[in-house]
């Protein structure tokens, strides 16, 4: 069986994988990082989004072997120790999640949107950019608010402002 060497959340792993193994299977089953979820089988839902070498990737659509040598960040690696990433904090603050299943992918995509589009995101941009992430619980209303606030907080390096009550 071939092996891949992959750095996940700052830690290097060399793992034997069958050639057909998907990145998400490597993460969930071999490394037991179960925060990355699988919500569909057609690369539509986005629950499996992780960052590979800094870019958002649907890990259900990438072979583990093609990630050989890559640096991968999953939802488990986003926080800095016990300090949450501003986007994580924004999702909690703005009630941007309910059942939590799409949330890891949403947050990883949201961070990627900010990395690509900057921290001043209007509602239209956020909604268009979330095209590849499906949520069935929230109606996206609070996700959009969370992404906007998280984006601002990422720029400022500060915590997102407390939502209006």
């Amino acid at each position: 069986m071939p092996n891949v060497t992959i750095t996940v959340n700052g830690k290097s792993h060399t793992v034997d994988v069958a050639p057909e193994t998907l990145l998400v299977e490597l993460l969930r089953e071999k490394l037991r990082l179960t925060g990355t979820h699988v919500g569909c089988d057609t690369s539509q839902c986005g629950a499996c989004v992780v960052h590979v070498d800094g870019a958002a990737v649907k890990s259900c659509t990438m072979l583990a072997m093609t990630a050989d040598g890559a640096k991968v960040t999953t939802i488990e690696g986003l926080a800095n120790g016990s300090a949450l990433h501003p986007m994580q904090e924004a999702f909690r603050e703005h009630h941007g999640l309910q059942c939590g299943f799409c949330t890891p992918g949403m947050i990883m995509s949201a961070v990627d949107i900010v990395n690509r589009k900057g921290s001043e995101l209007d509602e239209h941009t956020i909604r268009e950019e979330l095209e590849g992430n499906i949520c069935r619980c929230t109606g996206y209303h609070n996700i959009v608010k969370a992404v906007a606030a998280g984006a601002k907080a990422m720029k400022g390096g500060a915590k997102p402002a407390r939502a209006a009550e």
Binding site: I75, R92, T103, V144
Partner: protein, 787 residues
């Protein structure tokens, strides 16, 4: 109001694990020595099974066993059942066909399981499933409910001639016919309530483990009600006695009804785990979910509304054909009957209502409760009729509603329900102000200037939640009582564990239930934990659906907290040498009335356990109380949603320009969570109205079987919503709660279709109102206007 008490927008306690990827969903769990299960499923909608040859598959790498329907029957594993008995007009019971977890003789829909492969890895199981040879005798199939009972239609279950499960009715036929005979105006509509796939983002999963030493089974599953699953799998399927079966529903990634039901795969996982004596793990993929999760809605309805010369509604007559699918799912029979026809009075005082419902089998996936369950269908019928009646009569749709609103309470409808409280004028008025109804004409003119059509539509909905008084539902055929249980365990150090029979799969119970406890006991919310979803921890419970966890689940907690307070007062009395009757409890402090003598919560809880201040004869040590709460009535959340749309007549594209929701949910524990429930409900209703529709072709193949073909609402399909509330407390439960989980999905389809039909000037806009549908209607509307 304290910062963490009732009414505060407390940030959710459960979020920490979800935002850090530390949730614990069923598919995240692995058990030592587990094998993976993969099902061989029928590619045919209707066929006899002539032969299943498993020999080649059994020899494939990694295969542990291949089990068939014949094996299941040999092991005398019982079939799945529908737990709500409906009686036809002639008094005969509903005709429930057998539903084995693996088909042995005949398959009745695409996706019906015919065998299961167990192997060391999922890939090995999937590969071996390809090698299972099934010899089918293909039969003609029927998927359209309107055709299922027709002469010559394929017969799906022998026990149900003409595929008719029941023909049921409710209301007074003679009085309703008389109302129509003397009506000044009658509005008629043909309505198809489109079939939907619930699509919780977490696909269903089951892990079963057999403990040989104790002859006991454990099932981890994606369930909204693990205790009911245990009861059914024990008492009806006959898998194991209840005390030898533990069901754990850990973090569950959304349900919307579809995870209420007991499914074949969890039965098979348990049975297989005991046979191969290794844990068995099954995780649905999304394609499998489309084929096998219970779907929702799928009604074909003819409806008529009678009005007198003063525009008062005098009668409502409805005939509905409800598609039940290939098998009767757990609560399928109740959805198009007691959860549907009982809500046909809407917010209106209607003297006579008569509803007939024919439930039919078809060669499609089972249909059961999906967010709202029957009430969205009822609301769509009533709110479309009233809107169209207003247009036909040339009166303002808001004023026609207002004229017919129920205005005094309690109000007994002709269809069982007794509305206890509400103020429908208040929510309508507030919503109209929020959307600036009076200036709609200006906005319409501005749209027209830009070549666009603009429309506005109302939905003044009502629902029955807080499901439900056990005796009442028992008299209507329910096989279970619908109370809820709670246990309050106070630890010696004063922290509190609440064991509840409710189950959270996104609703935020770990926060809202803790808010109640924090408010009531004056303890920090961090010292309260909520335990749910494990039959070994929580003794029994009825689970979460029907917007019942606040109104029923929290009422049970209130009852148990009453007992905790009473006992804690006794302990405090012994500590301060006073009678327990003289102790007051407020903000976490016990005070002897009229004195400044007091002790704190932590002192009392410790003394309850060390028991140094009283003898065993005086008081039992400890501080733990339980309660069962059975509601005395349904609750009746109601409100008004108004949708405003702009349509491009060239493309048929509908844009939601404005959405206002004003709901009366009674008292609210956490407004942030309630708003979130409303947003999500509206999104699902907008999905139904604009995007979603499960479609089977005439051969019974599901052609909308993935997220590529079935249009789930994406962020860009939806606007931000304007959400507010009005308040009439619910009089029938201690917290005055009505429930909020389903309202959005119930109200919104009618509001949106009323807006679109208003814009295009044509009533024939079936759901989902896709651009091609709307374009055709717009062309028809313009043609009508030109004539």
């Amino acid at each position: 109001m304290s910062a963490t008490g009732i009414g505060a927008a407390v940030r959710r306690k459960e979020d920490q694990r979800f935002i850090t990827g530390s949730g614990n969903y069923t598919s995240d769990i692995t058990r030592p020595g587990e094998v993976r299960a993969y099902f061989v499923r029928s590619p045919h909608a209707h066929a006899t099974i002539k032969k299943v040859n498993t020999k080649a598959a059994e020899k494939m790498p990694g295969v542990v066993a291949v089990l068939t329907g014949a094996d299941l029957a040999n092991d005398k594993i019982g079939g799945l059942i529908c737990g709500w008995a409906i009686t036809s007009k002639d008094g005969t019971p509903m005709k429930m066909g057998a539903h084995p977890a693996v088909a042995a003789d005949k398959v009745r829909c695409v996706g019906d399981a015919v065998a299961v492969v167990l192997a060391e890895t999922l890939r090995q199981a999937r590969d071996a499933a390809e090698a299972v040879e099934v010899d089918y005798g293909v039969l003609p199939s029927v998927v359209d409910p309107a055709k299922a009972a027709a002469k010559g239609a394929p017969q799906i279950h022998d026990v149900a001639p003409n595929n008719m499960i029941y023909d049921w009715h409710l209301g007074d036929k003679a009085a309703t016919d008389a109302a129509f005979a003397s009506a000044k105006h009658v509005t008629k509509l043909d309505i198809i309530n489109n079939r939907l796939v619930p699509n919780a983002m977490e696909p269903r999963a089951a892990i079963a483990e057999y403990d040989q030493g104790n002859d006991a089974l454990t099932l981890w599953n994606t369930s909204q009600n693990p205790h009911v699953a245990r009861l059914v799998i024990s008492a009806f399927v006959g898998m194991a006695p209840e005390h030898k079966l533990r069901v754990i529903a850990p973090d569950v990634g959304g349900g919307f009804g579809s995870k209420i039901f007991i499914y074949p795969e969890e039965v098979v996982a348990l049975w297989a785990a005991r046979r191969v004596k290794r844990p068995v793990k099954w995780v649905s993929d999304r394609s499998e979910a489309f084929l096998t999760d219970a779907h929702g809605r799928d009604h074909v309805t003819k409806a008529e509304l009678a009005l007198d010369a003063n525009h008062k509604i005098t009668g409502l007559r409805v005939h509905t054909i409800a598609n039940i699918g290939a098998y009767m799912s757990t609560f399928s029979s109740s959805v198009p009957t007691y959860l549907y026809a009982t809500l046909l009075s809407g917010q209106y005082a209607i003297p006579a209502i008569y509803a007939e419902v024919d439930a039919v089998y078809t060669n499609t996936a089972p249909v059961d409760a999906y967010r709202g369950a029957g009430r969205p269908e009822a609301t769509f019928v009533v709110e479309r009729l009233v809107e169209v009646a207003a247009r036909e009569l040339g009166v303002d749709p808001a004023e026609l509603r207002r004229k017919n609103f129920v205005k005094s309470f309690p109000h007994q409808t002709p269809v069982i329900m007794a509305y206890d409280a509400g103020d429908y004028d208040a929510s309508l008025t507030k919503a109209m102000n929020m959307i600036d109804y009076k200036n709609f004409g200006q906005r319409k003119a501005a749209s027209e200037k830009n070549g666009k059509l603009r429309g506005i539509g109302f939905s003044t909905y009502i629902e029955a939640c807080g499901i439900a008084p056990s005796q009442a539902v028992g008299s209507l055929g329910a096989g279970v009582g619908l109370w809820e249980s709670a246990e309050v365990r106070v630890n010696p150090t004063g922290s509190v564990e609440i064991l509840t029979g409710s189950h959270s799969h996104g609703q935020g119970h770990e926060t809202t239930f803790a808010q109640l406890v924090s408010d009531r006991l004056g303890v920090p919310i961090e010292t309260v934990s909520i335990v749910h979803g494990d039959t070994d921890k929580v003794q029994f419970g009825m689970g979460t659906y029907g917007s019942r966890s606040g109104a029923v689940g929290m009422s049970a907690i209130v009852k148990a907290l009453d007992k905790i307070e009473a006992k804690a007062k006794k302990v405090a009395g012994y500590m301060m040498e006073a009678s327990g009757d003289d102790i007051e409890f407020k903000d976490g402090k016990f005070t002897v009335k009229g004195t400044d003598k007091s002790v704190g919560w932590g002192d009392v809880t410790l003394n309850a356990y060390i028991a140094h201040k009283f003898t065993g004869g005086q008081l039992e040590p400890g501080l733990k109380e339980g309660a069962f709460y059975d509601p005395t009535n349904f609750t009746f959340p109601a409100g008004c949603h108004i949708a405003e749309v702009e349509i491009d007549p060239e493309t048929g594209k509908t844009t939601i320009a404005n959405w206002v929701a004003v709901d009366d949910f009674g008292n609210i524990i956490n407004p942030m969570i309630v708003e979130g429930q409303v947003h999500g409900g509206i999104a699902q209703g907008v999905g139904q109205a604009l995007l979603e529709g499960a479609h089977y072709n005439s051969d019974g193949q599901l052609v909308t079987g993935s997220f590529m073909d079935y249009a789930m609402p994406r962020a860009a399909d939806l606007p931000s919503f304007k959400v507010d509330t009005t308040l009439t407390p619910c009089p029938s439960n201690p917290l005055g709660i009505k429930g909020c989980g389903e309202a959005g999905a119930i109200a919104s389809p009618a509001a949106l279709i009323n807006a679109i039909t208003n814009a295009v000037g044509h009533e024939n806009v079936p759901m989902p109102a896709t651009p091609s549908t709307v374009w055709k209607a717009a062309q028809g509307g313009m043609k009508k206007a030109a004539e």
